[in-house]
């Protein structure tokens, strides 16, 4: 929690050998973080960041206690001077009720309110607080209200114990009861809000009505006003969980609830009550009535903790001496009692303000903190184990380096998409969030496509026309009550394959750029059969998209996006590719199989053919490869031509066969024979040989 504290106020309790800046540094080094210093002289203010586990340090006395431990200088006791104050004489009777003039106090819920301490002051004059109180509260950004309320606030910031003051004459029925609220009861709290209460709430009540929400906020109708003359001071200890629940339920967070829900000092109820009384008497006169009333319904005792020096050294290292260990604990208020016969074992009694210390490791942390983290020598532990890589690491790295080399920029988009996109870009059910950041980010992405499309559009909207992006990352699918996490790659591209320059004109991206990239990527994996068909998802252009099927499983799809189906406004063609890594990664990375370089020359033969449009290249290739000519090294299309002399519905294609033998130079007659077979096969598909 961020809060302000005054170093001058801290110095009320401890004589420090350093200036404020050094004090700030030293406190920070022991975990009482001073994040900033402002002002100067008596008006110097520390901006503190106190961990939520350290409510004891959220006040000046608590920080003074830390400083006294660090510098090993004595901490002054706070002992309020009360004219008629005697030692707290009261103890709890059965049922936690005690008779006192003029108020009996009854605790009905001993577990939720183990202790309730009170004092009565009569004849007080309500007026503005004295200048020194106003000045100090002002440094902490605390607004002064009146001397009685300021006394409670001053005490809270001084010793960390929240208290409350009631206008005694507005309490009805002549008694105080700590009880659960009744269903239907209401309480107007100090902030003016009418609160509906239930039996879940714990209240401080008078004989008729609730007058305070326990540990959270007092009641409006019984607060101190200018007319107040007689005051009841309350200083109780509330169950942290109870306060937390009420604070949440009612949406009230106060300095009091903040401390109570983290654990206040059980033993400081009398001290704080007396301190408030002292401040009120000083500023507003009046007199104490009777003694302090201290109703103890249940004792909160912290169990002592066993400390073994060997354990301290096992965790912190051998460098800590026994005297230093015991000295640190003593200065922090811990009492270490040696176990009989055991030199290296101690029973450590925990001070009441340190509810956070419950275990031996908590003590070890205290020792490390005060020793100074930076004083421990840096070491490197030896390790003889092996480095084990993730099973997919090599595959991930291969694809990533290929994608970068192919010119795709690595991108990362958020994990959330809208319901609409989830339905559009994946057939699989998406995982819905209970408390999404926004409606557009209401489900976990079941596809990276919306993310990539969003980023491509973002670029187009900012005048970047040439975009190549890829994202490798998880998508999530609901699988019954479970969440499946699957790895994907998505590529997005728009603009030119080759940019315009003085050397050449621009060439726009085409299907075959995407296909070529996909071929390069998929080629990195072993497979028996890889084929492409046109069964891509429906957000692709049906005539310019494909699906890659590797050994029977769809490993990728790619092509031009159909802006209408994708419901995206895109001012130029956008190309997408998706790789389903869960399926692709069932294949291993391609093994390198070295082959000796050919020693005999290759022979090329070209075939100029005309085919009907229905005959795709795949058929042509299969027909020729199916001939089983061992010397046929490759069979590729070189040129394709439509129109002109070629009749409609047909196309002309120039095909090139490369023939080579590993054992000898091919003879003219052999090549002629194979060429004849190839022509036969092509004619078998309905092809017509043109003059070659």
């Amino acid at each position: 929690m961020n809060m302000k504290l005054s170093p001058t106020w801290i110095r009320d309790f401890v004589a420090l050998p350093v200036d404020d800046h050094r004090l700030a540094e030293d406190l920070t080094s022991i975990g009482i973080a001073v994040e900033g210093i402002s002002g100067g002289g008596d008006s110097t203010v520390f901006e503190m960041e106190i961990g939520t586990n350290r409510p004891d340090a959220m006040n000046h006395y608590g920080v003074a206690r830390e400083a006294s431990a660090f510098y090993d200088v004595p901490l002054k006791l706070i002992s309020p001077k009360l004219t008629s104050a005697a030692k707290a004489a009261s103890t709890a009777r059965s049922g936690g009720t005690i008779e006192v003039v003029p108020f009996p106090i009854t605790i009905e819920e001993a577990n939720l309110c183990p202790r309730f301490t009170a004092r009565v002051v009569r004849g007080v004059k309500i007026r503005p607080s004295p200048a020194n109180v106003v000045q100090r509260l002002g440094l902490l950004d605390q607004r002064p209200i009146n001397n009685a309320v300021d006394a409670t606030n001053y005490t809270l910031w001084e010793i960390g114990k929240p208290t409350h003051v009631f206008d005694l004459d507005l309490l009805e029925g002549g008694k105080i009861i700590v009880r659960r609220a009744r269903d239907g009861e209401t309480l107007k709290t100090l902030d003016g809000v009418e609160r509906k209460l239930t039996t879940e709430d714990l209240v401080v009540a008078d004989g008729r009505k609730p007058v305070g929400l326990a540990g959270v906020m007092g009641g409006f109708d019984t607060m101190i006003t200018d007319k107040t003359r007689n005051i009841l001071i309350e200083s109780a200890w509330w169950d942290p969980a109870m306060v937390r629940k009420m604070s949440r339920r009612h949406g009230i967070h106060t300095d009091a609830s903040h401390r109570f829900e983290r654990g206040a000092d059980y033993e400081s109820t009398v001290l704080s009550c007396d301190r408030v009384a002292e401040l009120i008497l000083q500023s507003g006169g009046g007199e104490l009535v009777g003694d302090v009333v201290d109703v103890v319904a249940k004792r909160i005792d912290q169990a002592p903790v066993a400390l073994h020096l060997a354990e301290v050294r096992r965790i912190l290292g051998e460098e800590l001496g026994t005297n230093e260990i015991l000295g640190i604990l003593k200065r922090l208020g811990f009492e270490s009692v040696p176990e009989p016969g055991e030199e290296a074992e101690f029973t450590v009694h925990i001070p009441s303000w340190r509810l956070d210390v419950e275990r031996e490791i908590d003590l070890i942390e205290e020792i490390a903190r005060l020793h100074g983290y930076d004083k421990f020598a840096n070491k490197l532990p030896a390790f003889s184990g092996a480095v084990i890589d993730q099973p997919d690491q090599a595959k991930d790295q291969k694809l990533r380096s290929l994608l970068l080399a192919l010119g795709y920029n690595e991108a990362v988009s958020l994990s959330f998409i809208s319901h609409e996109d989830a339905a559009k870009f994946s057939p699989m059910p998406a995982i819905e969030l209970a408390n999404p950041i926004s409606d557009e980010a209401s489900v976990m992405r079941n596809s990276i496509v919306p993310g990539i499309l969003g980023m491509v559009a973002y670029n187009l909207n900012r005048g970047s026309d040439n975009v190549r992006l890829f994202e490798a990352g998880p998508v999530w699918e609901a699988s019954g009550p479970k969440a499946m996490e699957l790895k994907r790659v998505c590529m997005g591209a728009t603009g030119s394959a080759v940019a315009a320059s003085v050397n050449q004109g621009a060439r726009p991206l085409s299907f075959f750029d995407l296909k070529g990239d996909m071929e390069t990527l998929l080629e990195a994996f072993e497979c028996d059969a890889l084929c492409y068909d046109s069964n891509a998802a429906e957000y692709y252009h049906p005539g310019r998209s494909a699906r890659a099927v590797m050994d029977g499983a769809t490993v990728a799809q790619f092509g031009q996006i159909d802006p209408e189906k994708a419901a995206r406004k895109l001012r130029q063609d956008v190309w997408l590719g998706e790789i389903f890594l869960d399926r692709l990664y069932t294949h291993s990375l391609r093994q390198v199989r070295y082959q000796a370089l050919p020693r005999y020359p290759a022979v090329e033969r070209d075939f100029s053919m005309v085919f009907g449009d229905a005959v795709g290249f795949e058929k042509i290739q299969q027909a020729v490869m199916g001939l089983g000519i061992a010397e046929l090294r490759s069979f590729v299309p070189v040129e394709i031509f439509r129109g002109g002399a070629v009749p409609a519905g047909k196309y002309s294609i120039l095909l090139r066969a490369t023939l080579q033998s590993g054992e000898r130079t091919l003879r003219e007659d052999e090549v002629a024979q194979w060429s004849g077979k190839i022509i036969n096969a092509l004619e078998g598909l309905g092809g017509m040989l043109r003059a070659s």
Partner: protein, 373 residues
């Protein structure tokens, strides 16, 4: 043009004069050759078998010579032959040299024009940073582990010693999966808020000693702004062994920071609080932007807020309560100890490159991304 005349006088002086005349004619003609075609004509005129000058010299001088002069003439004709061949060859070389230098002159390009660039993809700065961090620990013997982004309450909170009411378990801080009401609390799904759950998952699967580094995505309920993102990236580390101390934690991280930010970087530790470590610490590194001076020239250094130190990660000794959850797999807190640390890759990339808005990482703007090419 020179032509070969019959000899009448076979005296040495007359022969000398005839040879001199021939050679000077050869040189003069060679000098006039300007093109390949002219050179071919020149070569043929002097060396052709039919009616070439050398052939004529052979016929008219040598064959026609009286017997007693043949020996002297024969020697002179051989020398002439060599001379002619050399001149023809050197003329050809002159020809070729001239032609290629002319070609080079016309082939000249303006080398100051920009080159033709092939597109090259850029690594994402956060992934690059993540990989660099992982690489440092991998070199120290740490194995890479990963875990699910959609986690259970058990792994994200319970087994990491978060008390049931810890504020991190609030819907204000954590994103929860919908429709989990029917499940027991510890099985309810949420988006992991840190990579720490992988610590417990790994300890369940592997026995000590352990050295692991865990990179990954994490999510929190933080609406996006310049310094917040609902998604970011962490690298977590965990070392467990029979003799791990606080000094090992410090030394390991000090070494890692020097590997990441340069050997002159210093580290500094101060107490902190995390539910799953105790003692817990925050580690600062001396500012790698200003070198720890707090100033850049005369300007204040913003990344370190002029303090010279940058808060870079949280760490600590593994809390015994965490070991209790995996005690059955060899993690008896009385016998083993360990340290854990976690850092944000996005934040480190922001500091390292001076990026002023975390949103830039997740917008895919190529003008931004291509700066890491």
């Amino acid at each position: 043009m020179y032509s070969v005349a019959k000899l009448t006088d076979y005296s040495a002086a007359a022969l000398d004069a005839a040879v001199r005349e021939l050679l000077s004619a050869l040189d003069a003609e060679a000098a006039t050759v300007k093109s390949d075609a002219e050179w071919k004509a020149f070569r043929d005129r002097w060396m052709a078998r039919k009616n070439g000058v050398l052939t004529l010299v052979n016929d008219l001088w040598l064959k026609a010579a009286p017997k007693d002069a043949k020996r002297d003439i024969g020697q002179r004709v051989n020398e002439l032959k060599t001379q002619v061949e050399q001149t023809v060859e050197s003329t050809q070389q002159r020809m070729q040299g001239g032609a290629s230098s002319a070609r080079l002159a016309t082939d000249r390009v303006d080398i100051t024009l920009p080159g033709i660039r092939r597109p090259v993809g850029a690594e994402h700065p956060v992934i690059k940073t993540l990989n660099e961090i992982v690489g440092v620990f991998r070199n120290l013997g740490y194995s890479v582990q990963e875990g699910p982004v959609i986690e259970t309450d058990y792994y994200n909170f319970e087994a990491l010693n978060f008390p049931p009411n810890h504020p991190a378990r609030d819907t204000q801080d954590t994103l929860f999966v919908a429709k989990q009401g029917s499940k027991p609390a510890r099985e309810r799904l949420l988006l992991r808020t840190h990579t720490s759950p992988v610590q417990v998952r790994t300890m369940e699967a592997m026995k000590p000693p352990l050295r692991i580094v865990i990179p990954g995505k994490v999510h929190r309920n933080d609406p996006p702004d310049a310094s917040h993102s609902p998604m970011f990236h962490q690298v977590e580390g965990l070392a467990v062994d029979t003799n791990i101390t606080f000094g090992d934690l410090k030394g390991t991280l000090d070494h890692a920071m020097k590997a990441l930010f340069g050997s002159s970087v210093k580290t500094h530790f101060r107490p902190s609080f995390f539910p799953f470590t105790e003692p817990s610490a925050e580690m600062m590194v001396s500012c790698f932007i200003c070198g720890g001076s707090g100033k850049r020239g005369s300007e204040p250094c913003r990344p370190c807020k002029t303090t010279g130190w940058i808060e870079i990660l949280g760490c600590g000794m593994v809390d015994p309560n965490v070991f209790e959850f995996v005690k059955g797999n060899g993690y008896d807190p009385k016998k083993v100890s360990g340290f854990a640390f976690g850092m944000g890759a996005d934040r480190i990339a922001i500091l390292k490159y001076g990026v002023d808005d975390i949103q830039l990482f997740f917008q895919g703007d190529v003008r931004f991304l291509e700066q890491w090419r």
